[in-house]
Amino acid sequence: MNRNLLIILAALVLIALAATLPFFLKAFYIRVGLSIFLSAGFAVCWWMLAGFTAYYSFGHTAFVGVGAFAAALALRGVADAGLVLQLTVALIAGLGVAGGIAAAIAWPILRLRGHYFTIAMLAVALVLGEAVSAFPVFGGSAGLSLPNLAPMSVRVEAFFYWLALGLLALVMAIAWAISRSRLGYGLAAIREDEDAAQMLGVPTTRFKAIAFVLSGGLTGALGAVYALNLGYITTDSVFRGSLSLEMIVNSLVGGMGSLLGPVIGAAVMTAVTKLLLADLLEYHLAITGVLIVAVVLVAPDGIAGLWRRRTRR
């Protein structure tokens, strides 16, 4: 009990510290911070499913895209409302629609195992991406604009920084709560041996579905913020294979074994690609590729894993 309290306190302190940064940093660094929080948020959401159950989804960009478009379309209906209402509508739309879709496909798709699940999620992302483009009602091909929801008195990048930080904290809190709950233990059992878990009475289908819906819905909420930050989205900007891959890479680089892994991974990868590689114009794709290979071969448990191995000596 004591340890849990310590963790919560430490987390609150860190969040408070992070929240003060926009008063000291220049806008560019605030934006980098914002990028990190969004990437970390996506990675944690993905990890909520993969880290606990070992169901590796290759199509989480579907939820980002769905959340983004749901928010954009919902905002059209409340164009004249107050900023707070608009923001709430956007978040709820993102969370609700993405979560809803996750709930709708949960049962059939979670019956698949291993690589089949992975590819199926990719297929879901592809289908949804195409649908958004193909049917004019979604506006994916021409693109949709989103209003600027930052209040006049606040700097835009600081506003989104805090919003993203808040959501990241929420998502991490949920993941942490899961890990401490019966649901979490059940999911871990599924990861170790799903058939055995089922035989031992763990309600595997229900638990998997809960994790899946939470993972998808929260990704959708983050997707809404991602879209608001961009201001204008097309199918290609939110239904991107590279978004799915980033979530996986970030989690792996940081370490799949703990909640901090995806966060650390996202921070490291964002810093490297945005800060260091910004100048290496022509070769940054290749360097990123080499980095990924290096991490997988040299540090398969990620940075967090390395740390743990160190402290065990």
């Binding site: 070992a54 590796y56 290759f58 059939p108 798709i109 019956r111 698949l112 195992r113 291993g114 690589h115 089949y116 992975t118 590819i119 199926a120 990719l122 297929a123 879901v124 592809l126 289908v127 195409e130 649908a131 483009s133 193909a134 294979g241 891959l245 996986i248 890479v249 792996l252 799949m256 022509e282 070769y283 940054h284 794709l285 290749a286 990123t288 590729g289 080499v290 980095l291 990924i292 290979v293 997988v296 071969l297 398969p300």
Partner: protein
């Protein structure tokens, strides 16, 4: 009626392209249970190889297939041995996937730097010849590509069926432990399998380069199409790759004519999803690993 017939012919020929492209992928997925994200880049690499052979050395693309296959074989072998096998042995199921993605990024970058993202096309003299059979027309190039593709698949099929290596590969796919107990060097087998898969991917790339304009970024498309074809037709089955490809080609052509061009991709992806949900083994598949 003519429209329907023409649509079916178009679909068949296009389907041939899709089958050819999926062959190498099917082998690797079926035998090694690795999602090979480098597939598309070998396809595109083959196309660029043929481009150089044709535009710089004046060699007909069809003749450049054997040497390009050898090069792809070598690259694939080294890649598997040095990078993919160690990744798989690290235990993490997505390790191989990520590592193949990493390699693809590097190769993509190099191709873009070297060739630029200009749209290219290989157009030997017979590219524009058209054949007519009554009211229906077809391109000679597509017919030739279809024929070559069939030949490639037949070669691979007989290799797998009748050769010693083919038997060893199949045995290892069915049971790695069992094969090892019989003295098979499993690692060597995987390296050869990957190399063979890459070689065929490159060969298909040459044929595709003759029919469709390409850029380095196309590699994503071909990897995804390979997924769909293999899933639909059945993992680990070459006949499945052919069937899957042809079916997909027909669906694509029919959708384009009767539903509208914008829906073709969506329908193809729906088929992928549907197959996975209803019959993950695919039509002719005999998956080597359990799917659920």
């Amino acid at each position: 009626m003519t429209t329907l017939l023409q649509t079916l012919i178009n679909g068949l020929l296009y389907g041939g392209i899709l089958s050819i492209a999926a062959v190498g992928f099917s082998l690797i997925f079926g035998v090694m249970n690795v999602i090979n994200l480098t597939h598309g880049i070998f396809v595109v690499g083959g196309a660029y190889g043929a481009l150089i052979a044709w535009s710089v050395l004046g060699i007909d693309p069809l003749l450049s297939i054997p040497p390009l296959m050898l090069i792809a074989f070598a690259v694939g072998w080294i890649l598997q041995r040095a990078v993919i096998q160690p990744a798989v042995e690290r235990g993490n199921p997505v390790a191989a996937l990520l590592v193949t993605f990493g390699f693809t990024l590097v190769a993509l970058n190099l191709l873009t730097v070297f060739f630029s993202s200009s749209v290219r096309s290989i157009s030997p003299s017979y590219s524009f010849i058209n054949l007519r059979l009554g009211e229906v027309s077809f391109d000679l190039v597509r017919l030739i590509a279809f024929g070559c593709g069939l030949a490639l698949i037949a070669i691979l099929g007989s290799f797998m069926r009748f050769s010693r290596w083919g038997r060893i590969i199949r045995a290892t796919a069915l049971s790695e432990l069992g094969a090892r107990l019989c003295g098979v060097d499993a690692r060597g087998v995987y390296a050869v399998t990957f190399a063979v898969g890459s070689a065929f991917a490159a060969a298909s790339g040459v044929l595709i380069g003759m029919m469709l304009p390409f850029t380095p970024a196309e590699e994503v498309t071909w990897t995804v199409y390979a997924f769909i074809v293999v899933t639909l037709g059945g993992v680990g089955s070459l006949g499945g790759a052919m069937l899957g490809g042809v079916l997909l080609g027909l669906v694509s052509a029919l959708t384009q004519t009767y539903l509208g061009g914008v829906f073709t991709n969506m329908v193809m992806f729906l088929i992928l999803l549907g197959t996975l949900l209803l019959r993950p083994n695919g039509i002719l598949g005999s998956a080597f690993k359990a799917s659920r």
